[in-house]
């Protein structure tokens, strides 16, 4: 197998794995890297060098991802590590998160940008609490695709009954989750069965290998291509353009957070409510007729409106919500617990506003998905539903509709720490105001 080259147009799949030391996660990643020839001689050499020093001569594939001295010394993984590999069909980014410490926080981070999540289940143990937590977080973060890799199949004699039994266990709680696409694959990461090549031990399994699935799973519709949303990031106004025809150029630069935009499209600028039309979609490679999420472009409108960073340009016929009273699920990420009433900064798309959490409605039990009420604080790694009041109305969608216009972070003033990740619930009717048409 060779790595992807320029000859093929390949796309990019981001996935995350999460698990503890002994469920075979490191072995699985090592196997994917090794079998796709993404491990290099000097990396293997470096592994051997450190094995001689600390590992009693035993090569430890976890050392590949555990890059920091403290991690190697203490045998722990501190944080999310990113790994890269490629096949002729696709490029891959793995977000590898540890299973034991700060589980939720790190998994939320790794999952926030993932197309797919791999849950590893030890075939001897079946579905355990950690498998359920993993699936629940993947569902809350709305990762579009899930792979349940039932590992160590060699240790249960490759029995189909055991595979089906675990599949049933897992499917039992699937109806409570919001995951569209789940794939079950029997593997042995250690021996390489059904990782890159089909196993001779599983004639009863007709499906793809793990890598085969990763290479072919349909990800083109993972982005929102329905509701046009364009948070203005930077106002593009040349001071001394070399090209004099650009003297009056006033562009609005940003990344399309949802939908498709076309020249001639009627749009509205929020929160002001001014209407205009797309005059030009400017890129360095020339003007284009249309552009889509998540492309970064510069829009020119028909009218010269007062627009600045934090404003949002949307399709005039498809308006988002607007409110300063927000209802959201958050994951608390800071050692100091969340207490209602305290002021934070909230960053949403391209603006940062003052905010206060006014009430904690519940804590979500990530093993059962039950909502626990009567909660006074959220501690690190807790997930819960809260009410937030912001100093300025946000222009937003529900996270389920759009991951980019439906998400936010909370920042603690003073320390500037990022203390929470938030997912907005859909706007209520009251948060969908009528905009008067201010067209000039």
């Amino acid at each position: 197998m060779t790595t992807a080259t320029h000859q093929n147009k390949v796309d990019l799949l981001r996935f995350n794995t999460c698990g503890s030391v002994d469920d075979g996660k490191s072995t699985l990643i090592g196997r994917l890297l090794y079998d796709s020839k993404s491990l290099m001689e000097d990396q293997i050499e470096a592994l051997e060098r450190s094995a001689d020093i600390t590992g009693g001569g035993q090569i430890n594939l976890a050392n590949l991802t555990d890059g920091l001295r403290a991690e190697r010394e203490q045998g722990i993984t501190i944080d999310v590590a990113y790994r890269y590999f490629a096949t002729p069909h696709r490029k891959f980014i793995i977000a590898d998160t540890p299973g034991h410490v700060q589980y939720t926080r790190n998994m939320v981070t790794g999952a926030s940008t993932a197309n797919l999540s791999i849950i590893l289940i030890d075939a001897r143990q079946g579905v355990i609490e950690q498998s359920r937590r993993h699936a629940i977080i993947a569902s809350l973060l709305r990762i579009p695709h899930l792979v349940v890799a039932i590992n160590k199949m060699d240790l249960v004699d490759w029995k189909e009954e055991r595979f089906l039994e675990i599949k049933d266990q897992f499917e039992e709680f699937l109806p409570r989750l919001d995951i569209k696409d789940v794939k079950f694959i029997p593997v042995s990461a250690l021996k390489g069965d059904n990782i890159v090549t089909h196993s001779e031990h599983t004639p009863w399994y007709p499906g793809p290998t793990l890598l085969g699935h990763l290479e072919t799973v349909h990800i083109a519709s993972d982005w929102n291509l329905t509701n046009f949303r364009f948070p203005v990031q930077w106002v593009n106004r040349p001071n001394n353009p070399t090209d004099h025809s650009l003297h009056d150029f006033r562009g609005l630069s940003g990344q399309i957070a949802g939908g498709i935009v076309r020249v001639g499209q009627k749009v509205m600028v929020l929160p002001s409510g001014f209407s205009s039309t797309i005059k030009q979609i400017w890129t360095l490679d020339g003007a284009v007729e249309e552009a889509f999420s998540p492309q970064s472009v510069t829009l020119v409108l028909e009218h010269d409106l007062d627009i600045s960073r934090g404003d949002v340009i949307v399709d005039a016929a498809d308006l988002p919500g607007s409110s300063s009273d927000l209802h959201a699920k958050i994951c608390w990420m800071n050692p100091r617990p969340l207490t209602p009433g305290k002021q934070y900064l909230l960053k949403h798309t391209t603006q940062t506003v003052k905010a206060a959490v006014t009430a904690i409605e519940n804590r979500i039990n990530i093993s059962t998905l039950d909502k626990e009420e009567g909660i006074t604080e959220l501690a690190m790694n807790d997930l819960g539903e809260v009410r937030i009041k912001t100093a300025k109305a946000l222009i937003f969608d529900g996270y389920a509709t759009n991951r980019l216009t439906g998400s936010f972070i909370l920042i603690e003033p003073g320390t500037n720490s990022t203390v929470a990740a938030g997912m907005l619930l859909p706007p209520t009717e009251a948060a969908r105001p009528e905009y008067k048409d201010f067209a000039i």
């Binding site: 080259t5 890059g67 400017w282 391209t350």
Partner: protein, 300 residues
């Protein structure tokens, strides 16, 4: 039906453009680190994509070791001029002269000495954000690096206390004296960089391509034979057809035997390579945590 789906380079590009615009919007005095190397060449193209038709709203900064390949310096100056950008150069030589940097006994390679020079330049110009071309695939300490890498007022990186980065929401808030290092190419691999250089038809310094050079065998690799560190009598010297994969201080930059004379050749060579890019950098081989230690001290 038209396919509204980005290929991998488009995806990496839009991610990086988004980050560059966040920096331009959220920081008062940002700079782009531009060495003339292949990664920073990509950064400049991304800056053009992010900010044109306006000027790139930040100066370029280069911390020169004084041990550069002359092709690199010539290219650096020419490219900055083409882009109509302000180029600030601070050198290790100056810093040694005025005592900002001090050479350790026996230390010849100057990669380490760039740290105090960079920190002094950040202080001199009060830069609050420096955009660099580091990638996570280069080295395992870098695999843990954030897009927005927070540095305290001493320029230090604290890997255990990094801000979580969720979705595309980057927290760039700083207290006075602190600064941010920003790495838009975090998710790029060596292959992506060359594919992008090819796709965008970007010029790179000639030393990346195959050329004739006198090399000396040192520390298990071929390094250029220079007057800075002449070959000792017992060292093997050979004229070879080589290219460089990664550029650092000339005396510690490994040359690989290669006939690759254009981007396509290089892409094919990387696809078949069995050694990583930094496998040819002696400075990373000092210890298991060589890169981690340098980063904690303020390096990229």
């Amino acid at each position: 039906m038209k396919c509204y789906h980005l290929d991998h380079l488009d995806y990496l590009e839009t991610e990086a453009i988004h980050i560059m615009r966040e920096v331009a919007s959220e920081f008062e005095r940002p700079a782009i680190l531009f060495s003339g190397g292949k990664d920073s060449i990509c950064l400049l193209r991304l800056a053009e994509k992010a900010f044109r038709p306006s000027d790139i709203p930040m100066p370029f900064l280069n911390v020169a070791t004084g041990h550069e390949f002359h092709e690199l310096l010539e290219f650096r100056d020419r490219r900055a001029k083409q882009l109509n950008a302000k180029l600030i150069v601070r050198t290790v030589d100056e810093a040694l002269e005025n005592g900002i940097a001090v050479q350790a006994p026996g230390q010849v390679s100057r990669n380490q000495l760039q740290i105090p020079v960079l920190l002094a330049a950040i202080e001199e110009f009060r830069f609050d954000a420096c955009i660099g071309g580091a990638r996570r695939d280069e080295e395992k300490a870098r695999a843990k690096e954030r897009f927005f890498s927070f540095r305290d007022s001493f320029g230090q990186w604290d890997p255990k206390n990094q801000r979580p980065e969720i979705w595309n929401l980057y927290n760039g808030r700083l207290n006075p004296g602190e600064n941010m290092r920003v790495f838009p190419l975090s998710n790029w691999t060596e292959m992506d960089v060359w594919e992008y250089i090819k796709r965008e038809n970007l010029e790179v310094p000639s030393i990346y391509f195959s050329h004739k050079r006198c090399c000396v065998r040192r520390g298990g690799q071929w390094v250029p034979d220079t007057e800075l560190m002449p070959a000792k009598p017992n060292e093997e010297v050979k004229e070879m057809i080589v290219r460089v994969r990664t550029i650092g201080d000339i005396i510690s930059t490994g040359c690989v035997e290669s006939p690759a004379s254009n981007c396509d050749d290089i892409i094919a060579e990387i696809a078949a390579a069995r050694v990583t890019e930094r496998g040819s950098r002696a400075d990373d081989k000092v210890s298991e945590a060589a890169m981690e230690d340098r980063k904690k001290a303020g390096y990229f």
